[in-house]
């Protein structure tokens, strides 16, 4: 379990992390989401005891990581995939890391096979692709068979097959009762992986929400209705709270009424519907809407470019 309480990190006047509190529970994968520069990596470095918080605490299993006798068994982590000396082999890199916590070389071989690097383990890691570097970083995170796994942007640079692999790996780790905390700036990467989301922007907590609740936030905004008697139906649906728009003949998009209400209204008035489709926003759209105000650098639109 990771507990972050009133965590704050100031660099001069700037608050990189601003009074952040959340708990990462065991048994599920928790996604740590936010735009670039939201303070995800800074938070993770404070959880690791690398950066000192300006105020607040970040603990792993109730204690600071540095107070754990075997840090790698308490918290396996991936910070930067490239954090390996390029002329050292993956095997030697992991061997040197393992021995700091009294971990055997047999375990090194095991995690190398686990991430699929067994055959290239003796080669210099400088020749590794980005995806292989990520796999090596994940191998390092798993060395201590840790109760908590924390990965900063592990999906970066992985091909689709690699993304699928890491999703299953992390979900398996969570099923074994471990705490799994994974950061990303892309909801599309996380939505199939995580059961819970901690969403931050400009160092502040925006949402600490289960995947189901987030999907509920995404659902039921509008309904698309298609009917040969659409004009009759529109006349019946009109109301103060209802907004009806039309893009093509015979089809309207309705906000302010649920699809059930529209269906009942049509039935009661003998109007035949060709289709009645509740439209959901994607989680990506919800995430974008939640974090929109906290994005540091917005791209210009085409019109601005042309002006």
């Amino acid at each position: 379990m990771i507990e972050v309480t009133n965590l704050t990190k100031a660099y001069g006047e700037t608050l990189a992390v601003d009074n952040l509190s959340f708990t990462v529970q065991p048994g599920i994968v928790t996604g740590f989401l936010g735009p670039n520069g939201a303070g995800k990596s800074t938070s993770m470095r404070m959880i690791l005891g690398l950066d000192a918080p300006t105020s607040g605490t970040a603990t792993v299993g109730g204690r600071n990581l540095a107070d754990h006798a075997l840090p790698l068994s308490s918290l396996g982590f991936l910070l930067e995939a490239g954090a390996v000396h390029p002329s050292r082999s993956a095997y030697d890199h992991l061997r040197a890391l393992a021995v700091t916590n009294g971990i055997s070389t047999a375990r090194v071989d095991h995690v190398l096979d686990l991430v699929g690097l067994g055959d290239v383990a003796k080669r210099r890691s400088g020749g590794f692709s980005l995806g292989m570097g990520q796999r090596l970083g994940i191998a390092a995170a798993l060395l201590g068979d840790p109760e908590v796994v924390m990965l900063d942007e592990p999906v970066n640079g992985l091909d689709p097959e690699g993304i699928l692999w890491i999703r299953h790996l992390l979900q398996d780790l969570a099923k074994e009762g471990r705490t799994v905390f994974v950061s990303s700036h892309l909801m599309s990467e996380m939505e199939l992986m995580a059961e819970h989301f901690v969403i931050i922007g400009q160092g502040r907590l925006i949402e600490d929400v289960s995947a189901d609740d987030l999907r509920a936030m995404a659902a039921g905004e509008t309904t698309q209705v298609r009917s040969d008697q659409i004009d009759d139906l529109v006349a019946l649906m009109r109301g103060d709270e209802v907004e009806i728009t039309s893009q093509e003949r015979g089809v309207v998009r309705v906000a302010g009424l649920t699809s059930t209400e529209i269906g009942v209204l049509a039935r009661d008035n003998d109007i035949a519907l060709a289709s009645l489709v509740p439209e959901r926003r994607s989680l990506e759209e919800v995430f974008m809407a939640l974090t929109h105000d906290s994005v540091q650098y917005h791209g210009g639109t085409h019109t601005e470019l042309a002006a």
């Binding site: 754990h68 954090a83 000396h85 021995v99």
Partner: protein, 283 residues
Amino acid sequence: MTTATLPAPTASATTRPATSSQTTAKPTALRRTGWAIRSEWIKFWTVRSTSVTLIAAGLATIAFGMIFSAVADSDAAAGPAAFLSNPVDVALGGVGLAEMIIGVVGVLVVAGEYSTGLIRTTFAAVGSRSRVIASKAVVVGASVFAIGTAAAAGAVVLGQAVYAGNEATVALSEVLDVVFGTGIYLTGIALIGIALGFILRSTAGGIGTLVGGVFIGPNLLNLLPDSITDVFLKYLPSEAGSAMMSQVSTSDQLSTGTALGVFAAWVIGLLGVAAILVQRRDA
């Protein structure tokens, strides 16, 4: 390269449930320090830029010692070799090159980890930053002391064998203090390199400060009037180092014992500054 295709990774994650991993006895601080030293040993000897360079520095010491000895002018007063007043000093002439290489190795061991970001992994895994500094110092110090002392001994023995100068040669057993003094000096320079690596966290900055501050700086200060430099120049690490290494002390040098103390104070002081800064700063 055939790195594009990877074998399919195993689907299952681990070998045992998370709850069973914490049943082993808590390791002591001493045990963990031993682990950290083993880790640094593996890291030092699995990267060519440090291990091979150190061995090369040792071999260069011997090779240059033999060359200097073989061409030693019979009339020592005739040229720059006048500084090298006896066969042992001539044979150890290569140390001037070795000390720079070894100092750079010390910087690289630390700054290399900062440049890749590995230092963060190391700090978090080891748990104590001073333990990381101490472990690097032990591994590099021991390796440099062994290779530096052996190289000095080799340079003296082989240099004597090919010596072309006038003066009578000496046996190794007569100059063991100089040989060990050289080993200690090179060890200290490597440790200064480590301290600078931690203080400056950059390869370029560390090497620049080492070369400028320790090796070239004192020579520039020599341009100042003697009345000024006589007071403090002999307390600089390089000058204290040469006092430790030379067989015959000149009047403007510290005595061997004092020189050893002054040099040790530099090394320990810089490592102490490094430890304090590393503890205070964000990693």
